[in-house]
Structure formats: structure tokens, C-alpha cells
């Protein structure tokens, strides 16, 4: 009797066990560390990966760009402290410009400069402190940049919570957004990333919970949240998602989008990076990082993370979780 019961129970459990071995809808991914770059890096604050797997890193302490080969070998660098051409004051975000170039945000010089694949200066895409743009836009405080496959550049203005769009020739195309709480407006704009098909994604650091309407009970304490917005190429907000994080300012936020539309979000204060699906559902998380301040996806799907607090850039790959995870 006992043996038969045992056999019956095992037969009942067998299909359940068999099903658990297969991936189920909604399953999350596991992040696996791969490469680490440390050569000549002090405080990396921007990272970009080109079509050949070469990694370019902006170092805000050395005020220079460092370039690494696909195998992690240090190749060369460019830049020095200053305001002349080919000099930087605290370079930050880097974005692949078109298919071969690079756009670099020179934060304290308040300009965006373009480099070619040999790290040769092409020119200034946008001189945000110059007379021409100042007269049109007022003061611009750039906090992030992104560029799309056609060479158009978007600059996040943390002063006015707007996104400035420049064409591939450096001409100002439009302003999008402005201070506000609705989708399509921004409050505490902290990071920006290009999405497939010409769209883009923004991250705002703090969205206040709404007040209770008349007759409603007062809402309880709400965990601090940061908001992601997906905008299309025309600048219309298509969807939003919330990340339960407290981001104090743009130094603690980074964003990257891969070719599939998956979004990687970094919180420098908590040392965490989260991978979200194209519609905002969590897929994976990486913890224990030291002030991650820049993200970039490589062509092979790996995520490169610049850890400013550790003086290194690391890469992670994502794969399905096994039964043992």
C-alpha cells in the first residue's frame, strides 16, 4: 500500500516536475559578469560601444576619452582639461553618432562635440553656451545626450526639463517637453536614451504622488518613484513606467536601450541596475555596483556599466535562468 501510494504520488508529481523545468511566461533573466576594463580609468562617467565592439569611455576626472578594443585592450585616448577644441571639462555622456562616429557631452563647457572612429575631432554639434543658441533657448544645463542611427542628437536640459533635438548637421530642430507632470512633460529630467526606430526613452528623478481628491481618503506613504517615458520619433509620449527608486539628481541616473527595446536603468546611489522589457516589466537586476553612472548596450546584447566609484567599466550578459537559480 505504501509503495503504491508512493508510486501514485510520484506519478502525479512527475508532470509538475517536468513543467517546472521549462521556462514559463514572465520568467526573468540572469545577469552574468563578463569583462572588466580598468586601464587608465579614474572616474568613468560615460560609455559607448560601436559596431565593431570597441568601447569608448569618458573619464570625468582625467577630462579625456579612452578607447578600448573589443578584446578589452586599451587603444588610445584624447582630451585634456580646458575649453579649447579637443579639450573637455568633465565629459559625461557618450553616444554612438550614426554608424561610426561618437557624440560626447562636454558638460561644464556646455557643448556637444563629435568625433570619428579614430577619435579625431569632427566638430562641435551644439555650443549650448554660445551666443546663437543662448539667444534662442536661454540657458541650457545639459545632463544627458543620446544619438540615433541617423546622427541626430538629443540633449536633456536639466535646467528647463526639456529635450533639445539637433539634426545630423548640428541644426536645432525642436524642443520637446517642458516642466510638468503629465506624460510628455518632465520633472527632474535625469537621463535619456535612444530607442529603436527613432524613438527615445527618458528618466525623471522624482515624481510626486498625487494628492487625494475631495472625498477620497488621503493616500498613505508612497515609496519614492522615478518615471520612465517612451516617446516616439515625433516627440509624443507613448507609454510610461515607474521604478521604485529615489534618484536625487542626474549624477545618479543612467539609461540605455538595446535593439530589442529592452531598457537598462541605473541608480548610482543604490548601486543597482535593472533591466526592463520594452513595456516596462522587470527582467533582471544587478546589485552591488559602485556608483553606476553610465550604461551602453553592445551589438552582442551585453550591457556595459561605467562604475564611477570603482574606476572601472564592466560588462554583463543576460541569459535565461536555469532551474537551480
Amino acid at each position: 500500500m505504501r509503495v503504491r501510494t508512493l508510486a501514485l504520488v510520484s506519478l502525479l508529481l512527475l508532470p509538475a516536475a517536468h513543467a517546472a523545468a521549462e521556462p514559463l511566461p514572465g520568467d526573468s533573466l540572469r545577469a552574468t559578469p563578463r569583462d572588466t576594463l580598468t586601464t587608465r580609468l579614474r572616474r568613468p562617467a560615460g560609455v559607448a560601444v560601436d559596431a565593431f565592439g570597441r568601447i569608448t569611455v569618458a573619464d570625468e576626472e582625467v577630462h579625456a576619452l579612452q578607447r578600448f578594443g573589443a578584446d578589452g585592450t586599451w587603444l588610445d585616448g584624447v582630451g585634456a582639461l580646458g575649453s579649447e577644441p579637443a579639450q573637455f571639462r568633465r565629459p559625461g555622456g557618450i553616444a554612438v553618432l550614426g554608424s561610426l562616429g561618437l557624440a560626447v557631452l562636454d558638460r561644464d563647457n556646455r557643448r556637444v562635440v563629435a568625433y570619428d572612429q579614430h577619435l579625431r575631432l569632427i566638430g562641435v554639434i551644439a555650443d549650448l553656451a554660445g551666443d546663437a543658441l543662448s539667444a534662442t533657448l536661454g540657458r541650457v544645463d545639459p545632463v544627458a545626450i543620446t544619438a540615433d542611427a541617423g546622427g541626430a542628437v538629443r540633449v536633456a536640459d536639466g535646467d528647463r526639463d526639456r529635450v533639445l533635438q539637433f539634426d545630423f548637421a548640428g541644426g536645432l530642430v525642436s524642443e520637446v517637453g517642458g516642466f510638468g507632470g503629465r506624460a510628455g512633460a518632465f520633472d527632474g529630467l535625469a537621463a535619456l536614451a535612444a530607442a529603436p526606430g527613432g524613438g527615445w526613452v527618458t528618466l525623471e528623478r522624482a515624481i510626486r504622488p498625487r494628492r487625494a481628491r475631495r472625498g477620497e481618503p488621503a493616500p498613505g506613504p508612497v515609496a519614492p518613484r522615478a518615471r520612465l517615458q517612451w516617446l516616439d520619433a515625433e516627440g509624443r509620449a507613448r507609454s510610461t513606467a515607474w521604478v521604485t527608486w529615489a534618484l536625487a539628481d542626474e549624477r545618479e541616473a543612467a539609461l540605455a536601450v538595446d535593439a530589442q527595446g529592452r531598457v537598462a536603468v541605473a541608480n548610482g546611489a543604490s548601486g543597482e541596475v535593472r533591466l526592463l522589457s520594452a513595456d516596462g516589466r522587470p527582467l533582471a537586476a544587478i546589485a552591488g555596483l559602485r556608483q553606476p553612472s553610465a550604461l551602453a548596450f553592445g551589438g552582442d546584447g551585453a550591457l556595459w556599466v561605467a562604475e564611477t566609484g570603482a574606476g572601472r567599466v564592466r560588462s554583463f550578459t543576460f541569459g535565461p535562468r536555469s532551474a537551480g537559480d
Binding site: 503504491r4 582625467v62 577630462h63 582639461l81 575649453s83 569632427i122 527632474g188 509624443r236 552582442d300
Partner: protein, 1111 residues
Amino acid sequence: MRIAPAMRPTLLLVLVLARPGPARADDPSGRTTSILVQRSSQVVYRLGRTFLFAGSDSVWSSSRPWVRGQDYALDPLRGDLRLLRTVTPGETLWVAAAGLVAPPALEYARQRYRPADAPVDSAARPGGAPTPRPVTQREPTVAPAGSQLAVTGNKTIAVEFGSQQDAALRQSLDLSVSGAVAPGLTLNGVLTDRDTPLSAQGASQDLQSIDRVLVELRSERLSAAFGDVPVTLGRGEFARLERRVQGVRAAWRDPGSAFEVAAASAQGEYHRITLRGTEGLQGPYLLTDRDGALGVTVVAGSEQVTLDGERLTRGEAADYAIDYERARLTFSNRRPITAASRITIEYQYAVTRFKRALAAASGELRRGAWTLGVAALREADDRGRPLDLVFDATDRASLELAGDSLALGAGVTPGVGDYDTLRVAPDTLVFAFAGIDSGAFAVRFARVGPGLGDYADSAFVDGRATFRWVGPGRGAYRVGRALPRPEAHDLVALTASAGRGALRLDLEGALSRRDLNTFSSRDDADAVGGAGRLALSLEGRAPGVPGTAGVTLSARQVERRFQSLSRLSAAFAEEDWGLPAGSDLDHTRRGDVAGFWRPDARRELRGDVARLDSPEGYTGWRRRLQWSDTGPLASRLSWVDADGALSDTVTGLGRERVSGEVRWTLARVIPVLRGDWDRLRTPSASGRAEARGEEAAFELQSGASVPWRLGAGVLWRRDATVTAASRTASRAFAWRSAIESPAGGPWGATVLLQRRITRDETAGSRRGTDLATLRLRAEPPRTGLTGSYDAEVTGEAENRRARTLVFVGNGLGSYDAFGNFVGTGGAYDLVLTVSPEFERLTRVASSARAAWRFGSSEAWRGSRVEFVKDDESRRRGALRVADGMLSTGAALDDPDFARASVTQRLEADLAPGSRSHALRARLERRVQADRSFEGFAQTTDVRSGTLRWRARPTPAWSIEGEGRAQWQQAEQAATSAGRFARTITEQGAQLVAAWQPGSALRAAWTVDAGWARPDGATVSTRTLRLGPDVGFSLGARGRSELALRRAFLTGPAAVSLLPSADPAGAPRWEGSVRTDVRMHTTTVIGISASVRERPGRAAVVQGRAEVRAFF
């Protein structure tokens, strides 16, 4: 419930059959669900079922369902699923589809009936069973296994138009291809093609065309690249090549052979310069063409820089920075440059004469102990494709007659030019510079070499080089147009080597043909030359001698007419023989006997004896010994002794040099001692000159167990040059210190300081040079405080410049009396003169930052107070410590600054998360001074303050208010015009109210009021600007943005801080509109226009229409 024993087996069977089956189970309707895991570089997956019902398929991933035709395509007949999205390796896909439960086969073959007893011999029958062939073995409609390519990119076409410009077409194409073309063969390619007006300074200039193609193909043995690629051949000694080209390169390697070919358009001409550093000058060092002319462009990535024999790497944080466009190289503070520095720069400068082609092929076969190699190279100008000029019949005739000598074309064109004739002797008429466009002749000058011309270069005026007559044979230039001669260079080399045991034989022979003028057959008789090399070496363990030892006998002869495509001798190698810099060491006859002994893996002793005969008649012997030990007590010792003679009268040349270093590697400290004693005897005008050098240096560095990198050192050096007629001597003392904290962490410091004092004992002068790099950072945890200070100190040089204002008449010039561009109302023309002389400057750039971040509540999180100070200065003379934290007063008043700028900013962001009282305050001061032009100085001082308040009372409403005040002052002083000064005070306020009920609509209204008053005026210029900003969606596919401002001005007309051609003040009307519409999933059309209107001026309209397609 009790179950009857007889029923239990039945129940058991029912439970087994009724258990929920796996996702792959078939159901009676024929619908199955397949589970796939995506693999990299695979886009086609066979489901294993055929004859599926159209429309019955559905695909989903863990995040969302997939859309047929957008994310995937299904071949229902063959059951092939093809992904239309980029592959996500590791992601799971579920595919459900219904189809025939028992599908028929996809193919049918006609069978012929044979009786059972008939012999079956398909080979004997006519038309027997076809032999499978590779081309018919796979489905032609299915992509070959292992080949998947992903193509992404963007195409943008834009038309710009306006009232002040003609319509201009701009386009860009960016394409990226990646994936596998066959199993094991990967392709990666990018293409970018666009026209852009970008420039380094940010101002629009003529369009640059940026065309970049780069394609790489790789497999285990094959590699190929197309586009901007490096070509490197290093086999043998005579056929070495390293070029940066635009073309194709392919290489094949397997264990027994290696082949490489390249065919390309060479981007530049190869050139090498060697020079001695200038004491304390980090740069810029100018790169020239082979004739010594400036103004070349260096091919990006083509340079190889060595300093004292050590190869350097590019990067300001590494060793040097290079400006390719202006061909200038500057060394970083890591590489202090002294008068004893030996600098070599090999590079390619952009071709300016003819299109140049390069073809190269090399191969190597290894069979047992033998290795055979061959290389063939050709680099030639296309004489039918000159750049930037056109040959006429006279030019061709001159070239045909010139042979390998300089060919000059006509150089004088009557008409408006820069020169007039001047009679300097009764029978001598020469040309003299009369001013830009002020003469009766346009004259061109060709460089013919020192002592061969009648003219010398003078100065740069308004960007043009000017020349003056100096007398027959006293100059380097002649009147005429130097005609470029197309060249061709061919080289073939054979190498062979064989080894048997410890013995090895190396042979190499090469032939070259260099035609310096392919238009002419004259002087071609001496175009062919040969070179040969033989080396016999014996290496191994000698009886009774520990370790390994070896000896090599070698001989090399290079004919004078042999020309390799790269230099054969190392830079400054001539000094080892007592020959002056620039001596020809490539075309020599030489024999060497060299030996080595390695007692163990750490130590090595090398020695050689060599004899050299040079084409200039030098004969000499050289002996060398080198010892190295890489153990914990590392040492390096080198001894060189050479003697030779140039002729019967110039004897006693040579060199004696002893140098060494001892490094003791301990756990916590590494002391290093270095010494150098050098006597170099070279020929000079007075017979022989002896250069003496002695150096001693001591350093202490931190060991590997110390987390911080610390170092300090001192150096003494003495140099003297003695000839029969004179003696010069100098001494130098330098100290350096370095501190570097580990990367990361809350505290950080990098300090690199060097001071070098050089005293000229002959002239009695003293010069100090300083180099410094400081990076200090503090970020105490859990305090919210951060602070940093960065500074760089370097020595630079700039050309002396002068501004000259020429009065041309009221309204006839474009500049005012101080050189400000005022457009059509000016009375002066501005001429900028750049002297070839350099003036030495000490450059200091610094950045200081202190911030406090606080606030943990919802409203106050993100609050901060921050102070930033950015300075940059260039001082004529030695460094002053105060330049590291430059004051605004010093920047404005110190006349020794060629340029100086100071920016100070204090910002506070309070309660940024508050719904009703988010405040931002900013105080800023920017000071700039420019005294880089002789006879002119300009300073500006701008002080501003703003206070902004923000509120978001409801989710739909937001309000911003800002008050501002600004005080700005400018001063100009010109020797010819006196002094100009202006001060303007401004105050103003702005209010913006925005309403956004949803994502489809945003409307804002702006009101801005301002008062501006120049110093001395009693009435302010009052400006009121107001207008709407509206943004709204156009259905589901578009968006439009409108902005409009109307300005009301009262009071006197606005003035700008400095006279300018641009009108001051706000335009009366200003508006812009932009509409973007999505025509297709990945195609967007955008149209924008803006207009500005001022009283009394025509409205300025600008517009742009573009189409952007992503794929």
C-alpha cells in the same frame, strides 16, 4: 474515501493518462505549441511541422505577444519561422500553430516500375538516378544554414531654405550590417555618408563630406577588411611597410603559410622627421611635408612617435596629443621635453599632388626547416588625376623636359594681385609685396631649396605667406609655380631562411625602382637599385657555459639607388657613429659580429662589433656592450665606443657613451639610480665638434605593497658643445614628484609636479619650466559633501600675431576702429598678420568644484548648493602659483596674460520636489581677457544673478517665475584707436504658465519684461515679450509645435555690449512651427519654419523639410 483494490490500477492508469501534458503535446485539432530558445546569428527556425493552416499561428515571448509580419514571418508550407526582429540570444519563444495531423511529403519523385526479377543497376541504365550535387542538395528558397545578416540604419534627406540662403540639400546615410554569411564566416560592416558644416570652433563653415566605409570579414584563417584600414608588412628588412589606406586588405594564415594582399588608395605620403626638443616646450611641434612646408594635414592614425627611442601612445592622459588638421603635436606632462630629448615622428600627410595608389602582396611558405618569403610593393601617383590643379600643354612639356629635377610653370599673372615690380638695379626688376590685393601682379613662388632662389619667406598676412627679394642665390624661393611630379615606386624582395639545429641562415635580397617623374624618361637610368643582407647565426647551449649563448655574423649592402618604402635605419642611429643628425645611414655597406649570453631567464649580456662605410665617405668601427638584469635588483648597463673618419682631413669622429640604471624592487619602496656619460664627436664647419653630456638621476618609487603610487626624483645634467672656435655649456637641475591614489573610493589625489631649471653658463641666463597635473577629490560618505580640484600646467608656444586696421573710408569697410565686425557700416578693413616666430607661454587650466547635497523628504530630496570655478590662462613668462586659482582681478589687469578667463558660479537648488515652492538661485561671474594680438587688448566682465520659482499646483498646471539681474562691462584698447569701454545694466522677470491636460496637448503662455540701460544713459530700454507655446498631437501619427512671441519696445534703441553687425534687442515678431508626421512604421516626415522680424529690416525666414527612414 476508500478505493476498491481492483479499481486502483485503473485509477492509476487514468491519472497517468489525464495528467496535464507538456507544452509540446498534440491535441486532436492538430494545434501544437513549440518552444524555441533564440540563438545568436540564427533567424530561421524549423518548427518540425509542415502544412500549417494560414492564420492559425501565434508567437509570444515572456514579455509580450509577437506580431505577425512585424516581428516574425511564418512559411506555413515548410513550417519555417523567420525572425524579423534582432535576435535576443537566450530569450524563449512559444510558437503555436495548427496544421494537418498527417501532412504529406513536400516532394514527390516519379518512380519507374521494374519487375521484381529485373536487375537493379541504376548505373547501367540510361538516365540513371541523378548524383546529388551541392546546389540541389538544399532548399533554394531557404537561406543556407548558418547565414543570417541583420541590417539596420537610417536615411535622412533634408532641404533647408530661407530668405537669406539658397535652398540646400543635406543628406545622410548610415548603414550597419552584421552577422554570418556562412558557417564560421562573420561579417561586420558600417557605412556613413553625410554632408555636415561642423567645425572645431562650432561655427558653420563649408560643407565637409564625411564618407566612411568599413567592412570586416573574419573566419578562423581568413581576415579581410574594406575601407579605412591599416596595411602592415613586416617581413624582412627591406620591404617593411606601414600605411593607413582606403581600400581592401585580405590575409590568409594557416600553420604552413601566410599570404596577404592589399590594394588601396593611399591617403597620404610617408615622411619621417627627427628633431631635438626645445627646453621646457611641450608643444606644439609642427609637422611638415618632405620639402619642409607647413600647412599639411596628417592622416589620422598614421603617426608613430618615439621619444628617446621609446614608442609613445596617443592621448593627453598618455603621452601626446595630435591635431591632425593642423599637423601639430603636443606632448603631455607625463613626457617632459628638454633640449636633450630626441623626437622622431613618422606619419603620412594628406596627398596634395596626385591621387596615389598602393598595391602590396606578400607570401610566406614554411616547410620544415626552410622558410621562403616574397613581397611585392608598388606605390604610385596617378598622373592623369592631379589634385587641385589642371596641367596645360606647357606644363606637360616642362615636366617632360625636367626629368627628376624641379619643374616650374608660369608664376606671374598680370592683374589684381599682392605684388608690384621694383627696380633694384639698372637691369634688375624684382617683385615686392604691395599689400593684399593692392598690387598689379599675382605672383606665385616655388621653394627651390636654400641658396638656389632669389626670394625668402617673410610673414603671414591675412593668412597668406608673403615673400621678399633677398638677392641671387640668397633665398630658398623662385618666382614660378612648382609643378608636382608624379612618382612611382616599385619594390620586390625575396627572403629565405633555414635552420638546422643551432645554426641558422637568413638571406634577403631586394630590388627597387623609383621614378621621380613618370612624365619624363630622362634620369630614369639611375632609378633601379638593389640591396642584400646575409646573416649566419649559431645559438644554443655551449659546453661549460651556463644558460644559452649565440653569435651572429651579418653583412648588409644597400646601393645608393635603392629606395625602400620606409626608413631602414633607426632614428638618431647616426649619432652612434659620430655622424651629424640627418646623415644617410640607409645606403651603407656594413658588417657586424654580434653575440649574446643569457645565463638565465633574467640576465643577458650582448655585444657587437660593426664596421660601416657610408655613401658620404665615412668609414668607422663601433663596439657595443649591453647588460640587463630584470631581477629584484635590476640593472641595465650600456657601453658604446665608435671611431671613424669622413675623409683624410676630417678624422677623430665617433662616440663614447656609458649609461646605466639600477633599480632595487622592494616591497614598499623602489629606489632607482641612473647615470649617463656621453661624448659625441661630429664634423662641423670648423672641422670637428664635440658634444658632452653628463647626467645623474635618483628616484624613489612606492612598491607594489603600497596602495598609493608615490614617487620623487631629482636629476642633474650638464651639456657642453666644444668646437675649435667656440664653447657653449649649460646645466640643468630638475625635481619631480608624483602621488596617485587608487581609483575609486571617497578620496582621491593625483599630483604630478616637475620643475626644471636650466642655466646657460655661456650667456649667464636662467630659465625655469614647470609641468604639473593636480587632481584632488573628496566625497566623504553620508555627508552629501563633494569637492574636487583639477589643474594642468604645461609649456606651450603660439605664433606671434598682430592686428592692423586700414582706413578705407566711411561705409566702405566692415570693421570699426577697434576691429569689431560691424557689417556694411564700417570704415576699416582688418588684416591679421601671423609671424613665423613663436612666443613661449605657460598654460594653466583649472577647475574647482564644491557641492553639498541634502534633503531626504519627498520635497527636499535633490536639494543642493554648489560652487564652481573654471579658469584658463596663458602667461608670457614663468608660472606663478596664483595662476592655479586665478582671481578675476588678475585676469583683467595682469598684462602678462596673453589670454585669461575665469568663470565663478554659485548655484542653489532648494526643494526641487516641492509642489509649490521649488527654488533655484544662481550667481555667476565670467571674466575674459585677450591680449594675444600685439597692440590690442580686450576684456569683458559679466555678472549675473537669477532666482527661479516653480510650482505644480495640479497635475495639469505648472507655473515658473524667474527674476534676473545682469551687469556687464567690456573694454577695448588699441594702439591705433585709443580706448573703448561700455557698461550695461539689465534687470528683468519672466513668468510662464503651462497647461497640459494630457499627452496630446500642451499650451503655455510666457510673459517677459526687461529693462536695460548703458552706463551714462538716463532712460532704460524697456522690452515686454509675450506669446504662446502650443504642442499637440495630430491624430495617431503626428505632432505639431507652435511658438510665437511679440515684443514691445519703448525707450532708446537697445545696444549690445560690443559693436556688432547683429542688431541688439529682441525682434518685434518671432515665431516657429514644426510638424512631424509618421508616414510609415519607420518613416517620419518633418517640416519646420521660423521667422524673425525687426522694424526697418526684412523678415528673416528659415525653414527645413526632412524625411527620416529607419530600417
